[in-house]
Structure formats: structure tokens, C-alpha cells
Amino acid sequence: MMVFAAAGQEAVQQAINALALGSTYALLALGLAMVFSVLGLVNFAHGELVAVSGYAMYLLHDAGLPFAVQVPAAIATGAIAALVMQRVVFRPLRGASFITLLISSFALSVLVQNGLRAIISPRQQGVPLPDFFNESVHLGPYVIGWLEIVTLASCVIALIVLTLFLRRSTQGLGMLAAAEDFQATRLMGISPNRVIAAAFAISGALAGLAAIFLVARRGTVDPGMGFMPLLSAFIAVVIGGLGSLSGAVVGGFVLAAIEVTLDATLPGSVQPFREAFALGIVVVILYFRPEGLLTRVSEAK
């Protein structure tokens, strides 16, 4: 009896971990999907938006500024960095082929990483967070970390605000329209430059928000810190269906659920191959749903 109760408790704890991790993936995947849907660009420099936002937190912490300042700064840094990327790199490439854009985003990623290495340091830098994040709440038999609660709550709020913006505001509606038919959106009198800039700004702000939770989890920043989250986000986007915004969110949670379940169930000796198992499951999903989970075949172009 005790064993079963413990197993149930364990499952609930794992589910909460999966939700917190999944919501971070969802933010990143949503940003990727947003830029992809309006521009047809898979932005591999998206991970570097996480990195620069993390470094903004580090620099502000170093300057003695409190966490309450670091949080908005991280989000703003992500948004501004994304706008700069789009203006300096992607706008001159408007109309270039998919491959050109892809390779350019890779180059940009390498450039930013090495910039951080050269200007700040190639080594990890500590970013201690408020003690609050290490504490837990006891809800009946469950022990839930504040970090998990805050992560999940912030991500849910961000997703709700974004959904309202996209559905209710004219600017947001224009972005949804541009994702469906870019030329027809111009015929409505909507400027493509504004739609693209808005997509980048939002994707950057979401990356900045995700960076806060990733830094909180690790307690450090380093120049390559954006790579693994980007990879996860990219897989999430593919699971959900490239270009589908809701699919990206669902894909983020599905991927996190797979990872957390494998973490909890795989025996220690095969743990190092966790990624291989996770990607194997993704391959199986895509075998049955090649267009992604949320894309109906009829919608796929």
C-alpha cells in the first residue's frame, strides 16, 4: 500500500516537472514557429536570444541590481536582440531561398556565441538567484518547488496574453493572416515589415522569458547555453507541425513529458542514452503523423 502511494506521489511530482520543463520548451518553440510561419525561416540563432538574455541577467547581477530588475531586462534584451537580428541580417535577405536563410541563421548563431566568448568570457559565469527559488511548498503529500510553480504560471500567463493579442488586436490578426497568406495580407493594407518585426520581437521576448527559467534552473550562463534549448524547441516545433503555433506549444509539452518519463523510468545504466530514446520516440510519432500532431493533412501545404 505504502509503495503504491509512493509511486502515485512520484508520478504527480514527475508530471509537475514535465509541465514546468514543457512550458519552457513551449515558449521557445512558439517563438521559432512564429518567425517560421511569417517568414519561412527556421531561426537557428533563436538559442542565442536565450544566451544574450541570460547574459543580460548576469551583467545586471554583477552590477548589483536585484532580480526584479533582471527579469524585465532579460525579456527586453531578448526582444531587442531579435529585432536587431531581423533588421541587420534577415531583412536584407528578404526573398532569399530557405537554405540561404537557414545557413545565415547558423552563421549568426556562431557569431553571437563567439562574440560572447570574446567580450565576456568563454567560461561559465554564476548567476545566483533569489533563495526563494530553492524553496518548496508542501501541498498535502506533494512537495513542489517554487521554481516549477513560477515557471509554469508565468508561461501560462504569457501564452494567454499572446493568444488574446493574436485573436483580438488587429496587429495580431494581421500576423495570423500573414502566416496563412503573406501576399494577401499585404492586399489588406498591412505592412509586411511591421508583421515581421512584430513576430521577431515576440519571439525574442518569449526567448527572454524562457531564459529566466533556464538560468534559474542552472544557476549559470555560458556562451553555448542556447544550443540545447534550441534543439528541444526545434524538436517540439516538428512534433507539433512546422508553422502551427498551437502545435508548437503542444509539441513542447509532449517532448518534456517524454524526457521526464524517460528520466524517471530508464535504469541508470542507460541514462546517458536518454536523448537517443527521446528522439527515437519522436521518430515514431512522426512516422505516424508526418505533418505533426496538430496539422491536419488537408491543411498542410
Binding site: 494581421g174 497568406d181 499585404r186 492586399l187 493594407g189
Partner: protein
């Protein structure tokens, strides 16, 4: 206010090395329905796309309401009151009917009239009111065409460009669309119509231009062209592609 609403002067459009339109001149006066006719690939749609700003003019002038617009992007041209209903309707399939109309209203110059204009459009197409919450992609082809026209009307354009509005529709729906076009003109909208349905287009238009291989092959009052088309078909076995 001058009678001349749109003037296309020696328009040239190139797609890379291919010249799609070579020195075409077309005039449209206020209150007219002008038809552009011709075979598939003759360059009719390209002319409309150039006027709407979707494809650049390699040479020539486009004058709308007395001002040159050939250098303006599509999103600025529609805000001046020149709306294109593109070929294939191009509604936003995942967005609701009402959201499609909202997007059409972005280019409305008189913001305070938006609600009234939306009511007018919904009165014109009662089926759109019934289905206002439905995704546009779930509508039938005819309903999507009505939505595409309604969406363009949301900006209260003085000039409406219609690219193949009858394409792929059942004859009874085609009747409805053509009646609607006549009705729009009666309400003061000037219309340029690209059609493959030559006879229907000549019936409702005042004047027509026949485009072949990117040039104006002939032009004139629709009644006259209709007579000559009948003659050609009867005696030579070739029509204007009827």
C-alpha cells in the same frame, strides 16, 4: 473630380527574363465596368497584380485618382481606395469569416464608418452573416468568393479589381456573382474585371480590352466586341476564347 479614375500607360512587367506584359495601356473612367479578356497566360492577371502593387512595373506609369502609384507597395495602394480581389479568392482559411472581414477593414480610411460598412457587407451577403464565426476554409467556393469580395469592400474602395471571380463556380453561383458586380457599380464602385467567361463579361461590362501575348490586341465598347466575337466564332471557328 476628373472622370478618369485609373490610367495604365505603357505598362511593362517582367518575370526575370520573361516579359509578361509589354506596353499595355488601359483607361478606366469613374462608374465604368471595364473587362480585360484573353486566353490563359495572356497577361491579364499580371496587369491587375501590377496595378495593385503586388508585382513591380518594369516600365510605364500607373495613375490612380491623378497620382502615380507605380512605385507604391501593395499595402499603401489599397489604403488609397484601390482593392484587388485576387485570383483564387485567397481568403484566410483558418480565420473566421468575421476576422477575414476585420482584416479587410484595416485599409478603411474612414475608421468611424467601419461598423456601418461591415453591416452593409453582411447585408449584401447574408450567408456571411450566418457563417460569421466559421473558419473561411469551411465555406463553399461561391461563399469564399463572396467573402473575398466582401473583404475587399470593407475598405470602401473607389476602384475594385476582380480577378477571375467566376472561376470554378457552379453556373447558378456565377449568375449571382455577375449580378452582384452590376449592383456594386450601381452603388458607385468602378470595376475592372478579368474574366475567361468572355460572353458573360461582355454582357455586363461597358468596355473591354482583349489581351493577347502581353499586348492589347483590340479594345472597344463591349457591345461591339460581342458582335465581332460572335462573327469570328461563327465564320472562323475561333473566338476570343469563349
Amino acid at each position: 473630380m476628373s472622370q478618369r479614375l485609373l490610367e495604365i500607360d505603357d505598362l511593362v512587367v517582367r518575370y526575370g527574363p520573361i516579359v509578361a506584359v509589354r506596353e499595355v495601356s488601359v483607361n478606366v473612367d469613374r462608374g465604368e465596368i471595364v473587362a480585360l479578356l484573353g486566353a490563359n497566360g495572356a497577361g491579364k492577371s499580371t496587369i491587375l497584380n501590377a496595378v495593385a502593387g503586388l508585382v513591380p512595373a518594369a516600365a510605364g506609369r500607373l495613375v490612380f485618382e491623378g497620382e502615380e502609384i507605380q512605385r507604391l507597395p501593395a499595402e499603401k495602394i489599397v489604403r488609397r481606395g484601390l482593392a484587388l480581389v485576387p485570383e483564387g479568392r485567397r481568403v484566410f482559411p483558418k480565420l473566421s469569416v468575421i476576422d477575414n472581414l476585420r482584416l479587410g477593414g484595416v485599409a478603411q480610411r474612414d475608421r468611424s464608418s467601419l461598423d456601418a460598412v461591415r453591416q452593409q457587407v453582411l447585408d449584401l451577403f447574408p450567408v456571411l452573416r450566418e457563417r460569421s464565426g466559421q473558419a473561411a476554409g469551411t465555406l463553399s467556393g461561391g461563399q469564399q468568393q463572396m467573402l473575398a469580395i466582401g473583404r475587399a469592400l470593407m475598405s470602401s474602395p473607389s476602384l475594385l479589381l476582380l480577378d477571375e471571380p467566376s472561376l470554378g463556380l457552379a453556373p447558378i453561383i456565377v449568375d449571382e456573382i455577375f449580378q452582384l458586380i452590376v449592383g456594386l457599380r450601381e452603388q458607385g464602385t468602378t470595376i475592372v474585371l478579368v474574366e475567361q467567361n468572355v460572353h458573360r463579361a461582355l454582357e455586363i461590362s461597358d468596355r473591354a480590352y482583349v489581351i493577347a501575348n502581353g499586348v492589347v490586341d483590340r479594345e472597344g465598347p463591349s457591345a461591339q466586341l460581342r458582335a465581332s466575337a460572335e462573327i469570328e466564332r461563327a465564320y472562323l471557328g475561333i473566338g476570343v476564347s469563349a
